[in-house]
């Protein structure tokens, strides 16, 4: 999109600018700051900072929204019909078709307009926010956000939002640091530090900008929040710019008095606006099927019309035979084209068009808008459900899209993330292994899966037993940002720390033999991180703002042992620590030389510091594989023990990291640093890879220190929820990045793996394979791996198929490497076939991409609804790929939530979301659509029946306005009430009988047979209505005074029957009557009579056949009422008999549940 914008700007750009240094496409932005010499015309033209998130403007609202409306086939059809209805082709006046169309389109447009107006108001508010801008000469003045332009220098005060994407020039902190909160961007509440370039640090007052001139070249606007590539040219020198200097619009300045910044992206170029794309819209299966049904209705419309026109053509042709007129009263000699017997085929064709209009009632024009209204209201119910409201985090459930409500009731497979989804993502440091010695005797919440569900029984894994440990199980976690918490109150309640070992605690570590290693170990934990310490406002105590809960846990652990991290500046990290040599606490400052951030490719992060003894140290922590591969020969002292400990930890369901360090010599550092600088100065897209490569060069020859083990507890109610979902017949797949052992443990803990299940483990982690891998012959290894996986899958498959009769549930556990092969084209189907035969599937060590691939495989392979649930950025692909994405609005930021369709606070709410809301919504929408077709067929087919008795001439049986009001007035509200309020069983019953969910999975309520049955019901009803009312009225006197009934009276009678039948049919179908349903159903019927009376009083030129028809001919006429009563009863009879027989003699599961004595009580 911005490609074309750029083209527009570049046309205006003068060629005098030196563009040779910008490295190619995508990096063409040039920002001049304070450079009056460059003429206005020479400056590249970038948009102002005003934003507009509205879909329409006042000028284009009408055409654009009309265009949107008439993209729908049904609406377009009705528009064409409406246009044609002004011609003599029309069987009735244009109003019949125009009125419903105008109402439906108008309602939808009004909805759009209201939504857009809300956005507009928000835009106005944002655009008019105030900010201080440099006026180019000496001072700052206040202006509105919308007036900012690229190249402006702004001053942003504490707790203000940044008005545009800025380059940080300086801050009120001396070292040029500022803190930002990016809540609005990614939902993360922790503070992030940003730092300006060293050269601009001194621009710390309003006056210092007089001499400041700069030119910035950087990447073009893009949506990537976490990357930025650019350079600043200042006084002849070129400085690299990184995301570290970029302040993004909509994030907030915190803990800093003010900052100065240079606008580089404004308005819609800002990253946050670039990100504001609508997520790919998903459509539910029901709606897709609904489209098909609409096409069927179109087809039947065509069939009916053409049948009619064939008969019409034949009869018209016969009107003149041998020069004699048959039906002379039609004047066949003076006929128009439409009825000309001499051109019967043309007349028949015209009649076909008339027929399309006449039977247009087959197409439910108001279906789409009704469904939209219903779904929005359903979402409101989901959002307001108190039982899905998480009090602890004050977060309700949120339906971010209302498109998929009914899809919830059809979920067949759940693909779940583990961390943060099944677990709390509140990390506790429970164990560590230092220098081959295991510390910590904590207990894990991992449940053996053997005991009862409600027992969160704890067990010990190893180490000396401490009786006091048991009581710790009751320790509640507390809020991250809780400032009232004081660590001094009790050590037991330190969040994120649960290491119990007397050898380390209370300073006892100094007596341990491996003192030096212990010290280095905790130095790593205290230094190698990106945590920001924040001084609490009440006392001197310190909180840690961390990017991930793991990091916070490490820093807290280091503090608890005695290495308190208390200050971070741009160039240093300071600790209070106990020096065993001196024997007392000292403040030490480590000069921070380089930080090698975590990247998923390297799976580790490092820092390079210079300590007070001028020693260069590199501290590193990372995945065990990433560390063990790079150990120095003399650093492998405790490799075996540490590996064993790591295995033990992961078996206990703990998250492990390995910790290592190395000493650097000055020369080595210098050479490497130059290389690193070059990589970080690069202004190209592959800078990240270059940085990674540079980091790899120094991250080697580690000396192993040990390993950490962090516990992540299961969320409340997870096992129960999983159990319930399993009972509902939903297959649950867990896709986790954890190790196989950890995953299995968690699987048992959350009831995914149960006793009596047979486990199938597919892995490449066998001695043979490992040996083969070590040989390093890549091709051979891959071939062998492939064969091994194929063999394992085949074996498992036969095992599963053989024991199918015994019905032992199977569980499939597969690791990431194997998954890579299993997902290859040839094994894909075998893997899928095996996996869907297993009750539970656990995929471990999966990458985000694999998660999405598995999701796609399941979705495509089973053709059933998949739901993905996750909480982190790594789940985004999976959430978007699945039919439904559910985001957990937990600890790990909002990225998952932002790309999800539903957001819930905790996993356990999934149970209610699927089994209760899903069931209800599914049933409602399905019933609603079926009913819609029913009511339109009932109505439309009576017209056809009448046609057959009016020589197919296209005369409608009803007055024009009756037809006009049918869809929008007499039958619209009850069906909405059905869609919003109906429920077959209470929420308690839904949860008590989870199998009810299978109705949705097997699509019982919207199967073709059911749809066709409803359609047949409609045809039956309409035939009954037509024949009973015509046979009753027939030819004889209609009333006591001898007057027979004409077209007007028959029309009223039939229409009354139709209205009563369809509304009472609704009443018969409903199983849940609140006052709302009563009001709508009886109100609709009543409204028809009121309408009839009022309409009858209109002058005859308007009301034509309906003039006084009710008052004069019908309402005192017992014959009218008796006919209507009998007809309605008979028209409802087929459905009534069918449903009674079905419910009582061949009851389905839901019929039985509905009738259970225990559920009949409210």
């Amino acid at each position: 999109m911005f490609g074309c914008l750029r083209r527009r700007w570049s046309r205006r750009r003068s060629g005098s600018l030196d563009r040779e240094k910008t490295s190619g496409a995508g990096y063409s932005r040039v920002v001049h700051c304070n450079n009056p010499e460059i003429q206005e015309d020479d400056r590249p033209l970038y948009p102002l900072n005003a934003v507009s998130t509205t879909k329409y403007t006042i000028a284009n609202f009408l055409p654009k929204s009309l265009f949107e409306q008439f993209r729908r086939v049904a609406n377009l059809f009705f528009l064409v019909v409406a246009c044609v209805s002004f011609s003599p082709l029309a069987p009735y006046r244009a109003v019949s078709i125009l009125l419903p169309l105008v109402v439906v389109v108008g309602a939808t447009m009004a909805k759009e307009a209201v939504e857009d107006w809300r956005r507009k108001k928000q835009d106005i508010e944002v655009n008019n926010r105030k900010v201080m801008v440099y006026d180019g000469s000496h001072a700052f003045y206040q202006t509105e956000w919308k007036k900012l332009s690229v190249g402006d220098i702004v001053r942003v005060e504490k707790d203000q939002f940044f008005p545009a994407d800025l380059v940080l020039l300086s801050s009120s902190h001396d070292d040029g640091i500022c803190y930002v909160e990016t809540m609005n961007l990614d939902g993360e509440t922790n503070l992030k530090t940003k730092q300006c370039l060293q050269v601009t640090t001194m621009l710390c007052s309003d006056h210092s900008f007089q001499k400041f001139k700069a030119l910035i070249k950087c990447e073009d606007p893009n949506e990537n929040l976490y990357s930025f590539v650019g350079t600043m040219h200042h006084e002849g020198t070129q400085y690299p710019l990184s995301p570290q200097q970029i302040l993004l619009r909509d994030s907030k300045l915190r803990n800093t008095q003010h900052i100065y910044g240079l606008v580089i992206f404004s308005g819609h170029d800002t990253k946050v606006m670039q990100n504001a794309m609508d997520p790919p819209s998903k459509r539910s299966k029901i709606e897709k099927r609904m489209d098909k049904i609409i096409y069927i209705l179109f087809t039947s419309l065509v069939v009916l019309s053409s049948t009619g026109s064939i008969f019409f053509g034949i009869q018209t042709k016969q009107d003149i035979s041998d020069g004699k007129f048959k039906r002379w009263y039609l004047r066949p000699d003076k006929s128009s084209v439409l009825f000309d017997p001499k051109g019967a085929s043309l007349a028949a064709f015209c009649h076909f068009l008339t027929g399309l209009m006449l039977f247009g009632c087959f197409i439910p024009i108001s279906l789409y808008i009704s469904i939209e209204i219903v779904k929005v209201l359903q979402s409101t119910f989901i959002n307001n459900d108190q039982e899905m409201y998480c009090e602890e985090s004050d977060k309700p459930a949120r339906a971010r899209t209302s498109n998929l409500n009914e899809e919830l009731g059809q979920v067949n497979t759940i693909l779940s993330d583990k961390t943060g989804t099944l677990t709390c993502n509140l990390m506790q440091f429970v164990k560590c292994s230092i220098a081959g010695v295991a510390y910590g005797s904590g207990l894990t919440a991992v449940e053996p899966g053997l005991g009862g569900l409600k027992q969160y029984c704890t067990f010990e894994i190893e180490g000396p037993s401490h009786s006091l440990a048991v009581s710790r199980r009751t320790v509640k976690s507390f809020e991250i940002d809780d400032p009232s918490h004081s660590p001094a109150v009790s050590r037991k309640t330190v969040k994120g720390f649960n290491l119990r070992d007397d050898r380390l605690m209370d300073g006892h570590w100094v007596n341990e033999p491996n003192l030096d290693f212990i010290q280095k170990f905790f130095h790593t934990l205290a230094i190698c991180h990106t945590v920001v310490p924040v001084i609490g406002n009440k006392s001197s105590e310190i909180y840690y703002e961390a990017e991930s809960p793991d990091e916070a846990a490490f820093v807290v652990a280091a503090r608890e042992i005695g290495f308190e991290f208390y200050e971070r500046t741009q160039t240093s990290i300071s600790l209070h620590e106990f020096d065993p040599k001196i024997g007392r606490d000292v403040d030490r400052s480590y000069t921070l030389l380089n930080m090698l951030h975590f990247s998923s490719a390297r799976k580790r992060m490092s820092v390079i510091v210079r300590d007070e003894e001028e020693q260069l140290l590199l501290f590193c922590k990372g995945a065990d594989s990433a560390i063990f591969e790079n150990l120095a020969d003399d650093g492998r002292l405790f490799e075996l023990e540490t590996k064993r400990h790591i295995d033990e930890y992961s078996e206990a369901g703990l998250r492990t990291l390995a910790v290592a360090y190395r000493k650097l010599s000055e020369e080595e550092y210098k050479t490497w640093h130059a290389e690193f600088l070059m990589a970080s100065n690069a202004v190209t897209a592959d800078r990240d890879e270059m940085l990674d490569a540079a980091a790899e060069k120094i991250e080697k020859d580690f000396i192993l220190l040990g390993a950490t083990a962090v516990e992540d507890k299961l969320q409340t109610g997870v096992p129960e929820c999983i159990n319930k979902l399993a009972q509902a017949g939903i297959k649950i797949w867990v896709l986790t990045g954890d190790k196989l052992e950890t995953a299995v443990k968690i699987g048992f803990a959350c009831n995914l793996l149960r006793k009596g299940m047979r486990q199938i483990v597919v892995t490449l982690d066998t001695p043979d394979m490992n040996a083969l891998e070590k040989q390093g012959r890549r091709e051979a290894f891959e071939k062998a791996s492939y064969e091994s996986i194929a063999r394992q899958l085949n074996e498992a498959h036969s095992q599963v198929t053989v024991s199918k009769e015994i019905s032992i549930p199977f569980a499939l556990i597969i690791d990431g490497k194997s998954l890579g092969f299993a997902l290859s084209r040839n094994l894909e189907n075998l893997f899928l076939d095996l996996a869907i035969r297993c009750a539970s599937v656990i995929c471990c060590r999966t990458s985000p991409k694999q998660k999405a691939m598995v999701t796609r495989l399941v979705k495509g392979g089973t053709r059933k609804t998949t739901l993905a649930i996750g909480d982190g950025a790594n789940d985004v692909g999976m959430l978007q790929e699945a039919d439904i994405g559910v985001g957990i609005s937990g600890v790990e930021g909002m990225q998952a939530v932002m790309s999800s369709d539903f957001a819930i606070a905790q996993f356990r709410f999934l149970e209610r979301l699927l089994l209760v809301h899903g069931h209800w919504c599914y049933r409602r929408i399905a019933a609603m659509i079926c009913y819609f077709f029913y009511k339109n067929i009932t109505f439309g087919f009576t017209l056809f029946c009448f046609e057959a008795y009016a020589s197919f001439s296209g005369e409608p049986a009803y007055n024009d306005w009756y037809i006009a009001f049918y869809n929008v007035a007499f039958t619209s509200l009850p069906v909405i009430a059905l869609g919003v309020f109906d429920k077959d069983v209470s929420s308690r019953t839904c949860l008590k009988f989870p199998l009810l969910h299978q109705d949705g999975v097997q699509n019982i309520f919207f199967s073709w047979t059911r749809i066709i049955r409803w359609m047949l019901n409609g045809i039956c009803s309409s035939i009954i209505i037509y024949f009973l009312s015509t046979s009753s009225i027939l030819i004889q006197a209609f009333r006591h005074d001898g007057k027979p009934a004409g077209l007007a009276e028959l029309g009223v009678t039939m229409y009354t029957c139709v209205i009563c039948t369809v509304n009472l049919q609704m009443a018969l179908y409903l199983s849940y009557f609140t006052w709302i349903q009563h009001l709508f159903i009886w109100g609709s019927i009543l409204f028809w009579f009121i309408f009839l009376v009022i309409y009858g009083f209109f002058p005859p030129a308007i009301s034509t056949t309906a003039y006084l028809v009710f008052i004069e001919t019908c309402y005192q006429n017992p014959f009218y009422w008796l006919t209507a009563l009998f007809t309605v009863i008979s028209a409802l009879l087929p459905y009534f008999v069918y449903s009674t027989l079905q419910a009582n003699i061949f009851p389905k599961y839901h019929d039985i549940v509905k009738r259970m004595p225990s559920t009949s009580s409210p």
Binding site: W328, E387, K454, L991, Q1036, P1147
Partner: protein, 348 residues
């Protein structure tokens, strides 16, 4: 986050409501939780049996009453369109009816089968006549009927809007094809008095047809359709026209011709002198003359009564059948399904 185990018990799945915020009223809470008080009808066998029984008990008597009303109506129907054509024209009825030179007079004798109480209604009945044909129905101008020549736009009336360059009042096919057979009745030797007034709907007469609108230029074309109107009677008084203009719904219909305000006794013979003007022969229609009394339910039509009675009986039968099935084979109770969550889930 609450970490205490078992805070939501498995069986109820966390259905204990959280404490309701005090600001919300109880009713609103129930609304958002979709827990409004409601009645939940379920088709239990008991309810079904009672429904059917009740419907039957209501329908049967209603049906019998209707049937009685219909049966109390005495009706004489005489088809005369064939018989009123002289022998020599039987093979070519159309030329007979079109020949204005030949007298169309015809005499029919109707025998009264049983006593007929006044008022007796006289209808003419046409069959296979499509008054509901779209071309026919649309070919009228309501405004002209009300305002006469003042209203000039008569395009709706095509193809019968002008004749010889002058507008026609009333225009349109319906008025042009006005039924024009006439009847007079002799009872014994005295001519019977037929009331031809009040045969049209009052609202039509008062509001749809002008009191000062007189027929003009009607039936002056080369092709004469039906009856010619008296140019000196305003449209609102031309009740035959008004009756004819109220189009019938189906191809077989009756139109009211007049009333006899005296009783007719069984065995009496009524002589009908009719003028057989109207051409139904071209399209194979039928013409009938109908004498009938009326009941509170209108004319003679057994259908409604029979249908009510029959359906009512079948309702009662179904109720009994249902009761038998229910007693013999009570529906499966739901206890078994509680444990059966292993039900085949793979079945589509």
């Amino acid at each position: 986050m609450e970490m205490e185990p078992g805070s939501s018990s498995g069986s109820s799945g966390g259905s204990q409501p959280h404490s309701v915020p005090s600001r919300r009223s109880r009713a609103f809470y129930r609304f958002t939780q979709q827990n409004l008080p409601a009645c939940k009808p379920a088709l239990t066998p008991g309810l079904v049996i009672i429904t059917f029984l009740l419907l039957g008990i209501i329908c049967v008597p209603v049906g019998l009453v209707c049937l009685h009303a219909s049966r109390s109506v005495v009706e004489i129907v005489d088809r005369y369109d064939i018989e009123c054509i002289p022998e020599q024209y039987q093979s070519n009825k159309v030329s007979y009816i079109k020949d204005s030179m030949i007298s169309k007079d015809c005499k029919r004798d109707l025998k009264v089968q049983s006593h007929m109480k006044a008022p007796i209604y006289i209808y003419y009945e046409l069959e296979n006549y499509y008054q509901n044909h779209r071309r026919y129905v649309k070919s009228r101008s309501d405004k002209q009927l009300l305002h006469g020549l003042k209203y000039r736009d008569t395009s709706l009336c095509k193809p019968q809007e002008t004749s010889n360059g002058l507008p026609i009042v009333p225009c349109g096919l319906i008025a042009w094809s006005l039924f024009n057979d006439t009847y007079s009745f002799v009872r014994g030797t005295t001519a019977m008095n037929i009331s031809r007034k009040n045969i049209a709907w009052k609202s039509d007469q008062d509001h749809k047809y002008g009191k000062h609108v007189y027929p003009f230029n009607s039936q002056n074309g080369s092709f004469i359709g039906g009856g010619k109107l008296d140019p000196n009677t305003p449209l609102s008084d031309q009740e035959d026209l008004i009756v004819w203009m109220r189009t019938a719904a189906l191809p077989k219909f009756r139109k009211l011709y007049g009333r006899i305000k005296e009783d007719l006794n069984a065995g009496e013979v009524i002589t009908v002198h009719l003028v057989n003007n109207y051409n139904t022969y071209s399209f194979g229609g039928k013409k009938k003359l109908v004498f009938t009394t009326s009941s509170w339910l209108g004319g003679k039509n057994d259908f409604l009564g029979l249908a009510y009675a029959a359906t009512g009986f079948s309702f009662i039968l179904v109720a009994i059948l249902f009761a038998l099935i229910h007693v013999k084979n009570p529906r499966p109770h739901g206890d078994a399904i509680l444990s059966s969550w292993n039900r085949k889930t793979s079945a589509r």
